[in-house]
């Protein structure tokens, strides 16, 4: 029930997310107090131009990925679906790898060539899957399979590029694929936040359709959902949002598949309106914490955040799963 029974838990998740996002910018290789930030110009500079945009970028990326994961899981009625299911991250990684391998450095209009290349790759993958979605009597399974094929082909091509590249490029590609929000600026944040916020708005409006999708295509149809049109709409807006996130941060794993499930376990039987808000908050908070760990655990170097999301997210998720006696109701 999305009624009063859930209100406290939703508020709890919201409070945790807010607290985490407010505390984490103060943490780092140099721990800061509020007073220190106010008094020292140097610390204020670090705090305002490095840590705040980075924390917010992590929050937006994590939240967006979690929301996208929830949408795909409901749309395909498949608990294993993730934001990358339809090959968006494969396309993005391929685009990035190509740019790196071809030595396309530099930037244009404030965007780095690599992230533009990866966004183009993401869009390419989506166009491919989407054409497939319209071109035949496709159902969820054929779409999923098409996505898997696109992802596999992309990863094959990436391996090939790896193989041909000199060590320096190969390392860069590898590092890109691990993902991270390091070096986030306000421009970087805006490029990601604007599409993610638009996406969240669209989702908020069409959440009731996701509830219907969960009951199966024919029942959703009989209840008044234009199933094909609605599914394709969700696929496209989700893929664009994920493309925007991935081309900025790389394919950060796990948060998109884990956060929605964690919310489902905590809010058994919640409608997607509630679930979406919570997934966004939890995914955002989770990535903020992971990124904070990434930049503090092994100073002065940074651990790629994708490694940490998997290493810390996995046990956290298993803990929830066991506490609920492993009944992942979907």
């Amino acid at each position: 029930m999305s009624g009063p029974r859930h209100v406290y838990r939703v508020l709890g998740i919201g409070a945790v997310a807010m607290a985490v996002t407010m505390v984490c910018p103060f943490l780092g290789i140099r721990y800061m107090t509020i007073r220190a930030v106010l008094e020292s110009q140097e610390l204020r500079y670090i705090f305002c131009t490095i840590r705040i945009p980075r924390t917010l970028a992590a929050f937006v990326a994590g939240g967006g990925l979690a929301l996208a994961g929830m949408v795909y899981q409901a749309l395909f009625r498949n608990p294993l679906a993730s934001p990358y299911t339809l090959g968006v991250s494969g396309g993005a990684s391929l685009g990035a790898a190509l740019c790196i391998a071809l030595g396309a450095g530099g930037s244009m209009a404030g965007f780095s060539m690599v992230s533009m290349g990866s966004f183009a790759g993401a869009v390419g993958a989506v166009v491919l899957v989407y054409t497939f979605a319209w071109s035949r009597e496709s159902n969820s399974i054929t779409l999923l399979l098409a996505g898997v094929v696109v992802a596999t082909v992309c990863s094959g091509l990436i391996m090939f590029i790896h193989y041909l590249s000199p060590l320096r490029h190969s390392f860069q590609i590898m590092r890109w694929i691990m993902g991270g929000v390091d070096g986030a600026t306000y421009a970087f944040l805006a490029v990601m936040a604007v599409p993610v916020m638009l996406y969240a708005g669209v989702c908020a409006a069409f959440m009731p359709q996701l509830d219907q999708f969960l009951t199966g295509d024919s029942l959703a149809h009989s209840r008044g959902v234009a199933v094909r049109r609605s599914r394709n709409m969700f696929i496209v807006v989700t893929a664009l949002a994920v493309g925007a996130i991935v081309s900025a941060c790389g394919p950060i794993g796990f948060v998109g598949i884990m956060a929605p499930h964690a919310c489902r376990l905590m809010l058994g039987g919640a409608r997607h309106r509630v679930l979406g808000v919570c997934s966004f908050l939890l995914g955002g908070a989770f990535l903020v914490v992971s990124d904070t760990l990434a930049r503090t655990l092994a100073p002065p170097s940074e651990i790629p955040v994708g490694i940490l999301t998997a290493l810390f997210g996995g046990p956290f998720f298993l803990a929830i799963l066991f506490r609920r006696k492993g009944r992942l109701q979907f």
Partner: protein, 274 residues
């Protein structure tokens, strides 16, 4: 307000009409030249052998399957010209069993039936809560309201599914073998639920069934399909007079009948029909 909108559809007879409809899956044609007129308030039983095209017909009527030839009229205009929401306000559909059992409470699941009546953000209005409460009462599942769908038995699940369709508040109800997987007791409960809904609002019912006796006792009209064609379409009483001979032809085995307190009961035998 809802009553007037229903009346406006009801006044346009026939309520639903299939004209020379053919349909199938890919190159495999199942239905051939089906024509049938369903008037408001009628209750149609669609009977026939497995593979005769009963479920295909109900899918065509529910707009789940596009006919390869012919048209389906819903009220004044072709079914395919309806938007999804407008169609859902005109007719509801109950499948053989739920495609997926979701971890929602029974109340929330039945509320999903109100989708076409709610706005974009899907916030239930008092009228929606009222419709859900009424549907739960009709189907005798009110005390299951807070239970999770995943904890229900097959019989309860099917009644909840019916409640969802009734909550939709559509004048036409399409049922695709709704009691196939139910024991005799739950089958009774299901039809009692349908009965009590019909007592409170005018419903036009098209129901696929394998149970000839249910068809004859609870429906006003019979549509008998044989190999994708109409073998009989019309009044149930006239159909009864042709029994059991017509059933022999329909199912390819002999039928016998005997009389009891409720009337005449048919049952299949090992004898081969004509």
């Amino acid at each position: 307000m809802q009553v007037t909108s229903r009346e406006s559809i009801v006044s346009k007879n026939p309520l639903m009409e299939a004209k020379d409809v053919s349909a199938g899956y890919g190159t495999c044609g199942v239905l051939k030249d089906i024509s049938v007129r369903v008037e408001a308030g009628e209750r149609w039983a669609v009977i026939g052998r497995n593979g005769a095209g009963k479920s295909t017909l109900i899918k065509v009527l529910a707009a789940l399957l596009e006919p390869s030839a012919g048209t389906v009229l819903l009220g004044p205009k072709p079914l395919r010209e309806y938007g999804a929401r407008a169609r859902a306000r005109a007719m509801a559909y109950v499948p053989q069993k739920p495609e997926a059992v979701i971890p929602y409470s029974v109340h929330d699941f039945v509320m999903l039936g109100r989708y076409a009546c709610m706005g974009l953000f899907g916030t239930p209005a008092p009228a929606d809560h009222e419709a859900v409460a009424q549907a739960l009462a009709f189907c005798d599942v009110r005390e299951l309201g807070d239970r999770m769908m995943t904890t229900l038995s097959g019989g309860e699940l099917q009644r909840v599914l019916l409640a969802g369709a009734l909550a939709q508040d559509a004048p036409i109800l399409l049922l695709d073998e709704p009691t196939t997987f139910l024991d005799p007791a739950h089958e009774r409960y299901f039809f009692r639920a349908l009965q009590s809904a019909r007592e409170h609002k005018e419903l036009t019912v098209v129901m696929v069934t394998h149970d000839v006796n249910t068809a004859l006792s609870s429906c006003t009209h019979v549509l008998a399909l044989l190999d994708g064609r109409v073998r009989y379409a019309g009044d149930a009483r006239a159909f009864k007079e042709q029994c059991p001979r017509v059933l022999d032809a329909l199912y390819g085995i002999g039928f016998a009948q005997y009389a009891n307190d409720d009337g005449v009961v048919m049952y299949g035998t090992w004898e081969h029909g004509p």
